[in-house]
Assembly symmetry: C2
Homo-oligomer: 263 residues x 2
DNA sequence: TAGTGGTCTAGACCACAAT
DNA sequence: TTGTGGTCTAGACCACTAC
């Protein structure tokens, strides 16, 4: 007994999707018009439109009224996370700026900082009490003027309050690790939790996403620690198909080393 | 001048999506029937069906014929990646098994190993010549019997050929780091590149995804290095909304230490 | 002006669940 | 048997592009 046949709209979707993902239909390529697809497959207009809607919802194509459907550009920015020592580079630029410039795009960002009492959720992540004061900074990052990343950062004022780096964007140093080092707090690790989910309406607005295409985001919860103490936590959001996250992780960097242990 | 109004189907989508993501409509909750939505909003059947199709394509709901539409369970498995020393745990279980058991689910897997000539793409990642022999192992991982992860692993036979760990699943040790250590190859880092994209048809089949819901995957390209030499590379694929990736990264773990550098 | 995609109508018919 | 969602028809009308 054979499997049941897929529905007609699914056959169009599968055909075009595999040709797009394989590269046969390159970004920018114009798809056949709806009428052509209708005639080629022998399906009704509605079914062809439905198939194209699904491909748009997957972010693989974009429709342009009066013109046609086109294979979407899925060029990705690279975001690097690694162990390298960044403490000595006082005044160095931010990780976002470095990644953007590496991709040949002009970085810029907007930010807004405010002291607020910690919500229970943020307090849990920072290991402080709900209501304790934290510095909340909202960021919106742009590459060549296009919004490409959002972040909400929270820092306990028990750590930074009253110091020169209390306001993240006003101090003499940029970047969490460098700023904390500046006030004598040695960050020794961070934890990132990566998930994907549909974009929320505010994110669609802030990232200027097409409501019909590419509505998925990558969400990261990041927390920096100095020993057992959390000194910053942030929620970071990217357009899901516009970013590639790179983690370069050392293995077994700590003593006891193999030589020290083995006779 | 105000913004143009969103289309009718979008209003339904936005309403239900925000209520689902906020938790007001919990996983398992039954949505109003199509007829009820039609009456409540005053739209045609087609427009209500279209809105529900989009929510399904986002993986937020699943339709059950003859029953109703339900908020989808988005419980996530956790996959951990960190720097801990795993070399000494000979015979230890695999990372996948550890993560699954931590989530209270029963791990199992299928694998199949074969010697093949390296494709140009794999050769590039391993820093060897196309055509050089590699061990290709296909994995399918299951939790409580449900397929939950796919992997294609490639190891240069120049490294493992003729040793006891040549066939990954037949040696005395499990896991890349432990196996390489067993033959005297000290892995000191790995790199993971994380992206998201729509699932390809074979992946939908192998992961038993609903073609109508949750068609997104997280794809990881991972490469292990011993010094400058790549000793394994793998393509790993997860259902996008079923996994949470956790990276725990040390900062500045290598000499020269701060003390060594600063007078 | 002609052609294209985006939204929408008013249904029909089928597969399946609940009863 | 009734109610539900899934697939599909045969269009209409609008917004916009390309010419």
């Amino acid at each position: 007994m054979t499997n049941k046949e897929p529905p007609n709209y699914q056959r169009i979707v599968d055909d075009l999707r595999s040709r797009i993902l394989s590269g046969e239909l390159a970004p920018g390529h114009k798809l056949p018009t709806e009428k052509e697809l209708q005639q080629r497959w022998g399906f009704s207009t509605t079914i062809v439109k439905h198939a194209l809607t699904l491909l748009r919802s997957e972010g693989l194509i974009e429709g342009r009224r009066g013109s046609g459907n086109y294979v979407r550009d899925r060029t990705q920015l690279v975001r690097r996370a690694h162990s390298r020592d960044m403490r000595k580079r006082l005044g160095s630029t931010s990780p976002f700026a470095r990644d953007s410039e590496a991709a040949g795009r002009q970085p810029s960002w907007e930010s807004e900082s405010k002291k607020i009492p910690a919500t229970p959720h943020v307090a849990g992540r920072l290991g402080i009490r709900p209501g304790d004061s934290v510095m909340h900074t909202k960021y919106r990052y742009l590459a060549d003027g296009d919004p490409i990343q959002l972040a909400d950062s929270y820092e306990p004022l028990a750590v930074t309050g009253g110091t020169q780096v209390e306001y993240p964007e006003q101090g003499p140093v940029i970047g969490v690790v460098a700023r904390m080092d500046f006030i004598g707090v040695a960050i020794d690790r961070f934890v990132e939790e990566v998930t994907t989910r549909p974009a929320m309406p505010e994110e669609i607005t802030a990232l200027e996403l097409d409501p019909r295409s590419g509505r998925w985001v990558i969400a990261i919860e990041r927390t920096y620690y100095a020993g057992p103490t959390a000194v910053e936590t942030a929620d970071i959001v990217f357009p899901g198909d516009r970013y590639r996250l790179v983690y370069e992780m050392p293995i077994d960097p700590w003593p006891p080393s193999k030589e020290a242990e083995t006779p």
